[in-house]
């Protein structure tokens, strides 16, 4: 658990004239769960999107397995996200026309798996998140909590090396959130992946091994994270 898998150094990012990140350093070891916390607007989502290669940092480097992915082309970055990264947002964003099992199987199909193999794996992951009985339902027929469990299954189905989750329990009630976190943490531990978890809730950050507190776009070593 000591080897650094992902190392971001001096990351800055502005939206027009608004600085969102002012030079942030983050290291994530293989097998480690790191929480990024802090008050609303402090730059958590921006940092996660930069780490996952969704946004390009203005300055700094984001080194994944010895390569600065911040310099990669969009195509290479998107391939990396499909193969070695898994991403989960606050609102699952399932494909509305597909059933739960089809949604979860999708990343495997895109990666070239066979239909049957992908379907079986997808069903297994739905089961781990307690929603196997909804396999044939479309997102419109599911509750928010059920959709989010499916989205979590979809993020993990390729057994990514790193999972990036942005407020994954933000739209869930307490128990649903807890159950989803438990299933996610167990899966991450089992497959020895890393998890970068953005949350503003202390009880969710407690699922991590370590937390990085942001304040105004920079790390706050005191961990206080008071806005302003």
């Amino acid at each position: 658990m000591s080897e650094a898998l992902l190392t971001a150094t001096g990351v800055t990012k502005s939206y027009g004239a608004t600085p969102a990140l002012r030079g942030v350093d983050v290291t994530v070891a293989a097998g480690e769960i790191v929480a990024i916390t802090g008050p609303s607007g402090c730059g958590k989502s921006t940092l996660l999107h930069c780490l996952a290669g969704i946004l390009r940092a203005d300055q700094g480097s984001i080194v994944y397995r010895d390569q600065d992915i911040n310099l990669w082309s969009e195509a290479s970055r998107s391939r990396l996200r499909r193969t070695e990264f898994g991403v989960l947002f606050q609102f699952g964003q399932l494909v509305p026309e597909l059933t739960a099992v089809e949604n979860v199987a999708l990343p495997l199909l895109l990666a070239g798996s066979g239909r049957r193999e992908a379907g079986e794996a997808a069903l297994g992951w739905l089961d781990r998140f307690g929603v196997a009985d909804l396999a044939e339902q479309r997102p419109g027929a599911m509750s928010g909590g059920q959709q989010q469990r499916c989205a979590a299954a979809r993020a993990l189905v390729t057994e990514p090396r790193v999972i990036f989750a942005d407020e994954p329990t933000g739209a869930l009630d307490q128990l649903n959130g807890e159950q989803m976190m438990t299933a996610m943490v167990r899966a991450v531990r089992e497959q020895d992946s890393s998890l970068v978890l953005v949350t503003h809730e202390a009880s969710i950050a407690a699922y991590a091994d370590r937390e990085i507190v942001l304040r105004d776009g920079a790390a706050d070593p005191s961990g206080i994270g008071i806005p302003g």
Binding site: E178, M181, T182, V185, R186, A202, S203, A205, A206, Y207, A208, D209, E211, S222, G223, I224, G225, I226, P227
Partner: protein
Amino acid sequence: MSTAHVLLGLLAAGPRHGYDLKRAHDDRFPQAKPLAYGQVYATLGRLERDGLVVRSGQDQESGPERTSYELTDLGRERLDTWLTEVEPPAPYVSGTLFNKVVVALLASGIDQATGYLTAQRAAHVTRMRELTAIKTRPGANVGDVVAADYAIGHLDADLRWLRTTLARVAELQKEVTA
């Protein structure tokens, strides 16, 4: 929460030795101070005197600590009564944490108070993480999980209050140094 009622509750599942009771208590209430043996025996003595428990057996090879106790009908009744009584929603402001923060703010400078609050926050976060690990362990039983939830809920409330207090102290500092 009284130790006597907790011991009655732990005996509801069947007779136990004092040592067992201590272990069961410490497992079930990880957020509480571990029970001292002396306290267990003193409490059992009082429960016995009041007819709420009786001695139900003794192991051959050992001394008084191997005596097992069981709940009487009266004990069961007392336990049921206690379980139906609503606790006064006592705020946690009687805790040492609060006392210390107030004393730190009054008796030492803002920097020292902030230092204390920051260190306390870190300790709370660490404990919350340990309790959360108990919940996510494969094979965690519902007893472990609800006990951890309880402790986490209170730590979380403390943390919110610590953060608000820190923010207030920071405001105060701005005023002072302005």
